[in-house]
Each structure stands twice: as C-alpha cells, then as structure tokens.
C-alpha cells in the first residue's frame, strides 16, 4: 500500500505543465512529425476519419499518398523503408482496412522491415460487440508484428507512438501496429510535448558483443585455409556496409550474398562471388560444402539458402554474427556465436584478423563462374536468336543504368533472374520480397521506393502474374505522379510454378496458364505511357525510351514462354547438388 500512495503523491508533485489541449489525432500527427516522418501511405475509412480530419491541417508537412488498396500501402511503406532506411508509415481504417494489411505486415516481419501501421478502431465501448467494421486487429496481427498495441484513451497516444517508432527501428527491425479506437482519436487531452522513446526496460534490442567470442572467431578465421563469408540484409539494416567491406578486404575472404543482402558490397567487387541459394550461383553453392570456416553475417540460413540442412556445410566450422539471439543455432549449429550489432562486431573482428588473400581458394569460385557462364548464363543473357529471354533484358538494363538504379522485383522467375543478373553499385538498391515471397509486392513497393530515394531511377520488374495482383496501384502512380519505370516480363505463364511442374510433375501444367489484359492499353487508361516489344532489335531503344521518359512508363516485354531459371538446387537436395540445366 505504501508504494501505491508514494506513486500517486509523486505524480501530483511532478506533473509537468501541459503545452496544449489537443485531440488524440493531433497528438498522433505531432508524434509522426517529431519522428521525422514525411510520407504516409494510407487509405481513409469510417473508424480513422478523425485522424484524416486532423491530417487535413497538416497537408504541408505530412505527404499522404492515397493508395488503391491497403495492401499496397504496406508494400509501399516497405519499399520506402528499404531504400531510405527509415520507418515506413501506413494509415488504414478498422475491419477490412486493417485485415488488408496482413500480407504486408507478414512480409515486413519476415524481412525485418521497419514499419509503423496506424489503424482506426471502433469506439472503445463497442469493442467486442461485433460493431460495424470491427475486427480483432490486435489478435489478428500479433503473429505478424514485432509489437502491437491498442489505444483506447487519447492520453496514451504520445507514449505509445514513441514506443512504436523505437521498437520498429531498433535491434532487428520489424513492423509495429497501433490500433486506436475512434473515441481516443476525438478525445481532447492535455498534451505535454513529444518525448522520443530511447529505452524500454524489458526490451534488449542489441545484445552486447562479447570480446571472447570475437577472439575465438578471429582465431578460426586466421587458421582457415578455405574461409567463406555469407552475408545478408543485416549489413544493410545495421548500416555496416563500410565495416563489412573493410572486413572482407582485409581478410581476403570470398563473400556471397542472400537476395536481401545484394548490394551490401558492389556486384563488381573482386571478393563478391555471387548469390546463394536455390537459384544462386554455382560456385557459392558447391563450395559451401567445401569451405572450412563459414562466416555468416546478418543472415538467417533460410531453407531457400541452405537446401537440405543435414547435408549443409557439415565439414565447416560456423561463425554466426547476428543481432537476434534467436537466430543463432536456429537452423545451422554454430561453432562461435557472435551476438550483437554487426556495425560494432565487424570492426572488432577486422582488427583481429590477419591481412590475407586467399587467391587459390578465390580462383575456385572463378573457375565455377566460368563453367556456369558457359553452360548456363551466356545463353540466358546473350542470346542471338529465338524469343527474348528475361536475362537479356536485365543485362541490357544494366548497360543503360550502369548499376545505379533501384531494382524492385516481384516474385517468381523474373525475380530470380533479376536478382541474379542485375548489377548493384550501391547499397539499398535491391527491393524484393524475400522471406514471404509475396506476389503483387513490386508495383506498390516501387512507389514507396521512389519516395524513399527520389533522386534514383526506380525500375520495377514484374511478371504478368504478379502484376495482376496489385495493378490497381497504377491509380496511385497516376494520381501522385510517381516516376517509376515498370517492366513486365510476360511469359504468359505463372512461370516458377510451371517450371516446377515441368521438372517435377511431368509437365502437368495445372492452372499456371494465365491470360493477361492489354497491359499497355491498361496503363494508357491510367494516362501512363507504355510500349510492348517482342523483338531483340527493339530492346535497347525501348529501354532507353523508358528510362528517358519524363514520368512513369510501362514496358511490356514478351519473353520466351517456357524458359527455366538455372542453376537450381532442387528441393530436398544439398546445395552441392545444384544443377546447371
């Protein structure tokens, strides 16, 4: 009892003076501004109307982009977060507005993308009454959010928003959802000014890097004859590109990337040996099972990267650097765990490793490269006859963008081809749905990517299937005049599933034959210019026209119908059983 009374007395004495009396909605918007938010992707509706009403007075400071579907808002926020490194912000109403966020939340959760979603909710006294547009948003979103919270009183909003932004962007980033009942949005309350959250007592975003593990890791690396680095998005999320480059350059270790790690060091870097995983490069996959020390940095050994786990790098000692302790030993047993932020741990490691060049070992990767080039890549990116291939489009695009564009991809064959062949000179240039594999991601994500990096060319590469999942966002591109370039690689199939059906189901093409509308005419109906090509002689001109066009542009490329993405690690096989054809 004593402690209770003391607490109350304290609040009486120390109560700060209110700066103003504001509505919950105004407090929310003030919070966004204090967090440096400039762009919001959203869609209004009944339960979030008070926030939109308040937003009317903040039009100059907060740029609200009206999407065409709430899923589009989440992917746009993801695209924004990926290219800018800042938190993507989404507004949606209760019920169907909120349930439409689920795919984007799940995508952001598995790909560690910082995002804050604000949903309107029915009045607090109506909770649990099956009110109009009431859904149990908190419980529906719990498995797909890093944190979520329901606000029923305006006085909570300031603190909850500060927590939301802190949680979304610290440690291993992720999506956060704040559900605000309508009464709390309207309610007037005393406002004491916005205080950023810097600490939550139960939340440990960054494990402390232990010196002893760094020493053990360095000793393993220094003794290694065939060390191999695998790097993932953790490098980008930790803003540790420079630290990473310094590490690989000093240690001279060949380094391969997961698709979300692409661009952490430039594609052309002499120690960058290519892409990991099911459709990754030949050398990195085969040599995973030959290296003696495997150094995994900011990656999580996804099954698409490891293939069959019981035959994965069994010969190697494994060093795993990750900020999330739950990732250590989750899939691959670690010899030396290095918990912590790689921005801190990498320089400590770099200091202790010997300056080396593993020329002979690196040459092995290059030998595999040559074999892959001859048997597989050359035909894909430099064909001289027959129908167009996806790879040659990416290759030509590289020539024109010089690797400086942001490439946003959807999911499927075109995604693997684009990630394999696109050139990246810069970090945060590859935006794709990695973990969740969300078809329909690219078009809205490209919108957000452009807002996140307005000075860069943003090129969305999308299949004919995925494009039809979120094509309504052409409306957003039209209305908000978003200068994105869209390339549809149209093979008239749901190509990746078709490829599997061809290889593993005796060509029983079950519902993968998809027809499409006239995409160019469709774009035109949204006042977006476009062109369709199917001849090799048209490619360079068409791509140049697209890139030089002032404003959004849609280029539809008719490509070979039954082309397969190779190399490939068939499901259930070891990475060293990768097939070149």
């Amino acid at each position: 009892m004593d402690t209770l009374e003391m607490k109350e007395n304290k609040t009486e004495e120390q109560k700060p003076k209110a700066v103003a009396t504001l509505t919950g909605s105004q407090i929310l918007l003030n919070g966004l501004i204090a967090e440096g938010v400039e762009t919001i992707f959203g869609y209004p509706g009944g339960a979030i109307m008070p926030i939109y009403d308040a937003l009317y007075d903040y039009k100059e400071t907060l740029n609200h982009i009206l999407v065409r579907h709430e899923q589009g808002a989440t992917h746009a926020a993801q695209g924004y977060a990926r290219t800018s490194g800042r938190v993507g912000v989404v507004f949606a109403t209760s019920g169907p507005g909120a349930t439409n966020l689920i795919t984007g939340l799940a995508d952001a959760q598995i790909d560690s993308t910082p995002m804050v979603c604000i949903t309107g909710q029915v009045f607090a006294h109506l909770l649990g009454t099956d009110a109009f547009q009431e859904t149990d948003v908190i419980n529906i979103t719990t498995p797909v959010t890093k944190w979520n919270h329901q606000v029923t009183d305006a006085s909570e909003i300031e603190e909850v928003m500060a927590k939301a932004f802190h949680i979304a962007q610290t440690g291993r980033p992720g999506p956060v959802l704040v559900d605000i009942t309508k009464n709390a949005q309207i309610q007037l309350t005393e406002y004491f000014g916005y205080k950023k959250c810097e600490h939550i007592r139960s939340y440990k975003p960054k494990p402390i890097v232990r010196k002893s593990y760094i020493e053990e890791a360095a000793a393993l690396i220094n003794a290694a004859k065939k060390p191999f680095v695998l790097f993932g998005q953790g490098i980008l999320l930790g803003n540790a590109e420079q630290e990473f480059k310094a590490f690989v350059e000093k240690s001279g270790i060949p380094a391969a990337w997961t698709i979300l790690g692409a661009g952490a060091i430039p594609t052309d870097h002499p120690l960058n040996v290519g892409m990991l995983g099911m459709h990754g490069n030949y050398g990195p996959n085969v040599l995973t099972n030959e290296c003696d020390v495997l150094i995994a940095i900011g990656m999580r050994f996804d099954d698409r990267v490891t293939g069959r786990l019981d035959k994965y790098a069994k010969q190697a000692k494994v060093i795993h650097l990750d900020i999330d302790p739950a990732e250590i030993d989750k899939n691959v047993k670690t010899t030396v765990p290095v918990w912590g932020d790689c921005k801190e741990s990498l320089p400590m490691l770099t200091e202790l490793v010997d300056q080396k060049s593993h020329a002979e070992w690196l040459q092995k990767f290059r030998d595999f490269d040559r074999e892959e080039m001859e048997q597989c890549i050359d035909a894909e990116i430099n064909p001289t006859e027959g129908e167009l291939s996806m790879g040659e489009i990416i290759n030509q695009l590289n020539q024109l963008t010089k690797g400086d564009a942001i490439i946003v991809t959807d999911v499927g064959q075109h995604q693997m081809v684009a990630c394999r062949y696109a050139k990246f000179n810069n970090t945060r240039s590859n935006v794709t749905s990695g973990g969740l594999g969300t078809m329909g991601f690219a078009l809205p994500a490209a919108i957000g990517a452009k807002f996140g990096a307005p000075d860069k060319d943003v090129v969305a590469i999308i299949g004919d299937g995925g494009f039809q999942m979120t094509l309504q966002e052409l409306g957003t591109i039209m209305q908000s005049k978003v200068n994105v370039k869209i390339i549809i690689l149209n093979n008239q199939f749901l190509g990746m599933v078709r490829q599997w059906q061809e290889l593993f189901n005796d060509k029983r093409y079950s519902f993968v034959d998809i027809t499409s509308p006239d995409f160019v005419a469709l774009a035109k109906s949204y006042y977006i210019d476009g062109k369709r090509i199917s001849e090799r002689s048209e490619v360079i001109d068409a791509l140049t026209t697209m890139l030089n066009h002032d404003g959004p542009y849609l280029l539809e490329v008719m490509v070979k119908k039954e082309n397969n993405v190779f190399p490939m690690v068939p499901q259930g096989c070891s990475v060293s059983e990768i097939r070149l054809k």
Binding site: F123, T142, R201, A326
Partner: protein
C-alpha cells in the same frame, strides 16, 4: 513416428511485464509450432509489477531452447528460463467433489485423507470437496480412488514451479524494478460508458 526418447517435461518460466495481449503473444509461439501446452499458470512474481508465466511442455531440449529464445525476443518479456523437473520444486493443486452420503458411509475418510495428504475444504449434506496438493501422480492417485465413490467433479490447477537455483535473477529483478518502476496496466475504461461517448 520419430522416437520421443529425448523428450521430457520442461518447466518454462517467463518473466514479463504485465500487459494485455501478452498471453496471446506467448501462446502463439507454441501453437505456431504445433506444440501442446500441458500446463500454463500466470501469476505475480516476488517483485511488484513483474509477472511470471509457468509453462509446461514435453519436448526435446533443442526445441525448448529455440522456443525459449523466441519467447525472450518478445518486447515485453524480461527473461526466460527452462528447467527439467529435477531443477525445480513444483506443485499442482486439485479439488475433488464427491457425494457426502457415499463417502461417509463407505469410506474411511480419515484414512483416505491421511494417505493422500488431502483435506476437506467443504462438507455439506449433499457433497464434500477435498483438496490435495502435490505432483501429478499424487493428485491422479486420489482421482482413481474417488472414482469408485461417485466422483462428481475434478479439477486440477496449472503447475506452479520454483527454480532451485534462481538467486541471481531475483537480485537483478529487484534492482530492475527499483531503478525503473513498472507502469500500470491501461484497461479499456469505456465498455460501460457508451452513452457518454458521442458516436457516429
């Protein structure tokens, strides 16, 4: 079926903030992996403002360790321990409702209570309620005995467990709460006040 030879009962102790919705966040970490929670208890801890969950599952150590890390990753979770039964002191409580007439006529009640460490909580004309506390086998044994005498109702509580070696964390918890006192839970204050709220 894989052999479950390495599987055994684990007692997972989760220290948390007192937060609405956290129970669900914790429960779905198990259900997502199709793990059955055999017993779940939430209670205050020795430190004001900090709650603890006692969760019992039967699994391999590796699965339990991974689950524990996923639990500890949650924003409002302070600390997670997992222990085998040998590492904890644990009890479960059970209540048994039996018809008084049968029990009084046919059973040597005094002996029964003594043998099972039970006591009578309520004695009425129509029924009697016994209570016993102990390990699962002990509370189960009394069920078997009373079944014969027309057991009307049986209920067993979740397990509560105390870790044998938890001194270190106790000190940390106290220090933790002293430095940053926990916040009060904010509940919905409006459920019964609909008429006072302007709606549309």
């Amino acid at each position: 079926m894989e052999s479950n030879i390495e599987k055994q009962e684990y007692n997972i102790t989760v220290y948390t903030e007192n937060q609405i919705g956290l129970l669900n966040r914790i429960a779905i970490i198990f259900s997502r992996r199709k793990l059955n929670i055999e017993s779940l208890n939430t209670s205050p801890s020795e430190v004001d403002g900090i709650h603890r969950f006692n969760i019992v599952i039967t699994e391999t150590e590796e699965v339990v360790r991974k689950v524990a890390r996923q639990l500890e990753k949650q924003v409002e979770v302070l600390k997670v321990y997992y222990n085998t039964n040998q590492d904890v002191i644990w009890q479960e409580m059970a209540l048994y409702k039996v018809p008084t007439d049968i029990i009084a006529e046919q059973v040597s009640v005094e002996r029964l209570l003594r043998e099972h460490g039970a006591r009578a909580v309520v004695i009425r004309k129509d029924y009697t309620v016994f209570e016993t506390t102990g390990h699962r086998e002990e509370t189960d044994r009394l069920v078997k005995v009373l079944q014969k005498y027309g057991l009307i109702e049986f209920v067993r509580s979740a397990r509560v467990a105390i870790i044998k070696a938890s001194d270190g964390f106790h000190v940390k918890l106290r220090e933790f709460e002293r430095r940053e006192p926990s916040e009060d839970v904010v509940e919905n204050q409006y459920l019964n006040k609909g008429e006072k709220i302007f709606t549309m």
